[in-house]
Amino acid sequence: MSELVATFAPIPQGFGCPPLDLDSASVARARSLARQIAAEVQERLAGQSTLAIERTVLRLFGVTGATADGEPLANRVVMALHTAGLLTGGVARPFCRAMALTGLDAQALAEAVAADRVDLRAHADCLDVVPEVRAIGDALAQAGVARILARRHEREALIGKLGQGVQPLKYVIVASGNIHEDVVQARVAARQGADVIAVIRSTGQSLLDYVPEGVTTEGFGGTFATQANFALMRTALDEVGAELGRYIRLCNYASGLCMPEIAAMGALERLDMMLNDALYGILFRDINMQRTLCDQRVSRRISALAGLIINTGEDNYLTTADAVDAAHTVVASTLINEALARQAGLQTDQLGLGHAMEIDPLRPDALLLEIAHAALIRHLFPGAPLKYMPPTKHMTGNIWRGHVQDALFNFVGVLTGQGIQLLGMNTEAMHTPHIHDRYLALESAQLVFGGAMSLGTELRVEPGGKLEARARHVLTDAVVLLEEMAREGLMAGLARGHFAEIARSPTGGRGLDGVFVKDAAYWDPTADAITAALEALGQLPAAGEAQP
């Protein structure tokens, strides 16, 4: 199958998806509309920045740590300017100017600001970026970019040396709340065959407007994403991976109010995947859409640079809306997410676009419909990893039935050539996974993936049959929805509740107070350095370039 380019993980012999006869004009139309929608949003928000983006600049400058009461220094520095109304020119200019005048390095200056020894407001009045200040900012930005690229090359070297799992990559979650327990659970999962470990975040973290500091042992429904926790898990997975002779990927969440900041931390700690959706926070966490749409762009540019895979969250649409009625919203959203991601420099092999198996399993032909949906997504995004999500809505607490549903899910995943399979747990809807839930899930996946590995390239879809008709129908509906959203704009479309049956207003939700209009003197050397690095890597689309 030529469309399954094995750029992110090897594909076994015969692995692929049965051909599907889609209307190529509809496919082209859908993609062009999605690009149009993404471009309109980008243009509208180009003049804005956010608190999270400014904190990310400081993170890339090397500022880390927190005050004694736990407030990160990055927050303290940015707020020192923002509360005085002096952030519209960006944090970089006053910060680098203060560095030039005090002779302090970035970390020492952030500490001095936090200790009230340096007043940044005094450095915000000069609107010019003098060459000396520019040189400091550019050097810091380039050093930050170099650190990220070094981690990227480290990953490439480790995968080259150790090898890695084959598609579909087996992805499992750990979520004990205590990073030390998570490490044990993750190491066991790797030994049982897991290729990707995702550390679920503590519930509520997405709404924190700061990233907690240090190693954490308490969390609810998950473990806090902190740079120290990232580093601990990275070391553990590298150790077990070296022993097993298989690179184990680490996944976390660049989402919520700290989207770009966590992307930067993940890039610096060599995470390999990030949950990162342009729309999820708006819909499911009621985060302001201007905030998230600005933040997602910066977070994705950093992820593009880091060479990591982003996972989008369209699977969630089907937990609130009906999985059959709303199938086209998943397709429309993945196309928009793809267009926004490509604008930010993410490449095909970095697009873990999300979709899910959420149809009521007792519905007649449920499996046929699921195969149609999964095959449609597979054919719309050739070469992209694709992240396929397991049943959650119709998991009942009957662990035996749940295990069967997950086995069917594994079958659809391998049959349709999905790149990343988030393995379902038989205890879904009961509790965060126990150590043996993960083993049972991995055993099931190995059994099904092994047995059905070549079916996708052997079986054929009946021309004019139910399956083909369903896939074509969903695509047609997606094009209708995209036409409407292209007419009215993405933000208006979200306000009308097109996705997940949830309506959000452009000025509602959390985090709008952290969005500001950049003034004429705005300067962000990290943006320039990232752009230059992405251009050097050939990852930025040329203006007006027709994308695949």
Partner: protein, 246 residues
Amino acid sequence: MSAIDPKHVRAYGDTLNDGQIMLSFSLPVPFGEEAKEAARQLCRQMGLEAPQVYHAHDLGEGFTYLVVYARSPHTVDTTQLRVTKMATAQLGKDAIEALAAQKFTRRLRVLGACTGDDAHTVGIDAILNVKGYNGDKGLEAYHCLSVKNLGAQVTNERLLQEARAFQADVILVSQIVTQKDCHRSNLAALIDLAEADGVRQDVLFICGGPRLSHQVALELGFDAGFGAGTLPSQVAGFLVQQLPPR
């Protein structure tokens, strides 16, 4: 088959009173005969007899997964069971609407939210959204109810503020995340706050979630609780029957 003695009921496998029980668990003991023996001893300490380890799997890192069958000699007197059940009858949507039309001169105002840090709205949405759950229409589809869904991560303080503004007759609280029993403390705190505000008696407080039951809800000071698999009509039926005429 011999007659079942309701005063001495044992677990049932394939023969009355065989007491057959299955267990599966992991031990932080390296895979091997010691792990199996540890599992058997643990089962005996649970009061089980003749434990058989049918499956043991090496999880690595010093852990072993086990599947054990054993015989439980213990009995339960089912004639002496006391459980807390909802006293109201289960009605369909039409019967609920008809009853409401008789009892109330206005629509009942229902306010729903996931409180605390909980971001999982699947449960509250299934109960409130028009679409409902498993073919059973949600509360928004009821003519007799006026529904407002505050969504996820609502603080108890804000919930009560909104309830005053909305003049809610009923508050529905969903709690899915239960790690370290945070749902219990959070729910109990809501009732404490409502009592401190003097609004506890004015509003029907109902909670729901996979780890909640009517009994737990009563213990926490709620008027009712609904567990996994609850249909919207069960909730609607309860509140229409429970609320006095207004």
